[in-house]
């Protein structure tokens, strides 16, 4: 007796071109590369801060090279995209039930967006931007 189980072909390196939603998933995955690299930049910044005023000024100067500006711009886009998709997912990840009813998802995600805006403005204020 022979049986031929169904084996779905799944090309390991190109599978995400099959569906637009897979591409959207992968576009979010890619943001981790920029965010991860930026975290390394933060660790370097801490090392420079610990090394004294001259080292810190050198670090701030090094941020100004064209390649660094390009990288930070991409990191900003990636970080904002990560944040938006993360907050959109909160309503699925942690639904809130009050009595019989669930709180609408838009309220949960919306609350996160409001908190994000308030926190970002507070940090910009504390950093002396305005």
């Amino acid at each position: 007796m022979s049986r031929r189980p169904l084996v779905r072909e799944c090309p390991p390196t190109t599978w995400y071109f099959r569906q637009p939603r897979y591409l959207r998933y992968m576009s979010r995955e890619i943001t981790s590369i920029f965010v991860g690299a930026y975290c390394v930049l933060l660790v370097v910044g801490l090392q420079r801060l610990a090394a004294g005023p001259a080292a810190w000024e050198g670090f701030l100067q090094a941020l100004r090279t064209p390649a660094s500006i390009m990288f930070q711009f991409l990191a900003l886009v990636a970080a904002v995209y990560h944040a938006a998709t993360w907050f959109n997912a909160t309503q699925k990840a942690m639904p809130v039930q009050i009595g019989e009813d669930f709180v609408p998802g838009s309220v949960i995600s919306g609350a996160h967006y409001v908190a994000w805006a308030v926190l970002s403005l507070a940090i910009l204020y504390l950093a002396g931007v305005f």
Partner: protein, 113 residues
């Protein structure tokens, strides 16, 4: 009940995802402003050093950096797998070790300030 090490990986991942979402965009914006020549007053050496020298400042900086590193390491591991790099044990080991080393380094730098 079967024991799993997944919560150990997952908790910092979820916490880090939230920390990244709330904090990293505005931090990138601040360094980008610096790079474009509009240095915010708070990024000067005196104020950054004073912030990092305080206990609360150290805790906030370490929390943001360490959780972001761990979350990024976990996400990069998934990204590598999704792009077809299936040597998961190797990738996971390299990335998690990198995240731990980065976190320890951050703690050491903070303690020196």
């Amino acid at each position: 009940m079967a024991k799993s090490h997944k919560p150990v990986v997952w908790f910092p991942f979820a916490a880090g995802g939230t920390v990244i979402a709330f904090f990293i965009p505005v931090i990138v914006l601040l360094t980008l402003m610096t790079a474009l020549g509009h240095v915010p007053a708070g990024l000067g050496y005196e104020r950054m050093h004073a912030f990092a020298a305080s206990g609360l400042g150290k805790l906030i900086i370490f929390g943001v950096v360490a959780l972001s590193l761990w979350s990024s390491a976990h996400r990069l591991r998934c990204t590598c797998f999704d792009f077809g790099l299936r040597a998961d044990t190797l990738v996971a080991t390299v990335l998690y070790v990198a995240a731990i080393v980065g976190s320890l380094a951050s703690a050491i730098f903070l303690l020196r300030i």
